[in-house]
Amino acid sequence: MRRYDQLIIGLFIVTALMMIIALVLALGVAPDPANLVTPAERFAQRIFYFHVPNWWVGFLAYFIGAVAGALYLISRKEQWDAVEISSIEIGLTFNTIGLISGSIWARPTWNTWWTWEPRLTTAAIGWLMYVGYLMLRSAIDSPQRRARFAAVFSILAFLDVPVIFLAIHWWRTIHPVVIGGEVGQGTGGFALGPTIQMVFFVCLAAFTVLYVTLMLVRLRTEFLAQRVEHLRQQFMFL
């Protein structure tokens, strides 16, 4: 465990430094987009540097959870179950942060906290799904069965997210499509200049490293919990 702990401490320092740099760049260096005029819009736009990386981490975490679930069903190694639960817990945390911070941004920009727009609706349903995942886990006593059911659910839930999005997408969306969309599409959208892009990618990198750090810390806890469980079973049957 010692090497592992050193790795975590090292990553922790790297993450902290990257986050500070990201914060300075996003709040101080990045220019205001030209097409946003009111002060409220311009200030609120800065959320872009954290909101998008935040959702990227959430999505990545759910994806890794589903992959770990599939690997568990194939190999039946409980390490994969640990990866799955760790990743999905982190995903759910970022999902929650994304919903709340998005709401705070929507208030000055769309003049409402919430609207039943495809991305928002998908995010909310996804949140409910993964809360259900945690409830499912906590309601099963047998560790093997819990791991099996959780793996099945994590794969189904992840496959379902794009399906839900497509199903809701028929209504016209007002969520900005900043990356890969037309310039200024949606209410509160804007064009990506070179500086904005650079700052954005630094933030993206910072958040990805944050995910890796959180993942290692959470995995460490999960491995310890599994060891305690094994020890308990070993001494119970002596």
């Binding site: 349903i125 799904m129 006593d141 047998s142 659910f153 189904l156 399906v163 199903a167």
Partner: protein
């Protein structure tokens, strides 16, 4: 061909067991009526045009009452100790899944088809819509039963049993519900088929996708 016989044998078994008591069918039927009545009271006070709410009410009634049936599907097997027997029969696990799924879909559809005329009367719709709405109900129910049967088999091994089923199932089947409501709304509004065809196809696709995925994962859920 003989796989189909085995599937139908499981459906027949569930049907025979249900027809002896009819406890599930009657409970689902009454519950669906209650849901429709509650919505009528609740919306009468504020909504201008009740017909715009009709498709939503119909599908809330269908999914909620369907949930009752789905949650009993495997609990009954477990309580009577017939689950082991079912799993020990020399058939593929997929056959068991299809049998249970078709049985569930059949029960829910039967209940809904009895509720449908009452719904049409209460919402003052044209009786000519019944055959088309029935088709939408059959398709929507199939989508509900796919994942529903899988999760029903999962839920019996959880501490809370049937309580967990709606929490797990509803978020996942949102696509089915959306397309089923849209399809029913189009039928009620008398839109030409070309305009609601996309929802019809979408519902069909979701039915197949959810059934196939649940079919694949059923093996992992029932293994001991």
């Amino acid at each position: 061909m003989h796989h189909l016989h085995k599937v139908l044998a499981i459906v027949a078994k569930d049907l025979a067991a249900e027809l002896r008591t009819r406890e599930m069918l009657s409970a689902m039927f009454v519950f669906a009526l209650v849901v429709i009545l509650i919505f009528n009271f609740a919306f009468e006070l504020r909504a201008e045009d009740q017909q715009t709410l009709a498709p939503g009410v119909l599908w809330v009634a269908i999914t909620f009452s369907g949930m009752l049936g789905l949650s009993r599907s495997f609990i009954r097997e477990q309580d009577r100790g017939s689950l082991e027997g079912l799993l020990l029969t020399p058939v593929d696990r997929g056959v068991i899944f299809l049998g249970k799924m078709l049985g569930n879909a059949l029960f829910i559809t039967v209940v809904d088809l009895i509720v449908l005329p009452v719904f049409v009367v209460l919402f003052n719709l044209s009786g000519a819509l019944i055959p088309q709405l029935a088709l939408a109900i059959v398709l929507g129910t199939l989508g509900l039963s796919g994942v529903g049967t899988l999760f029903s088999a999962m839920a019996i091994h959880t501490r809370a049993r049937e309580i967990l089923l709606p929490v797990l199932l509803f978020p996942l089947i949102v696509p089915v519900i959306i397309s089923a409501v849209k399809l029913s709304a189009g039928i009620i509004d008398n839109l030409p088929f070309a305009e609601i065809q996309q929802w019809f196809s979408l519902l069909l696709v979701f039915d197949i996708v959810f059934a196939v995925l649940s079919f694949i994962f059923f093996d992992y859920v029932v293994e001991e």
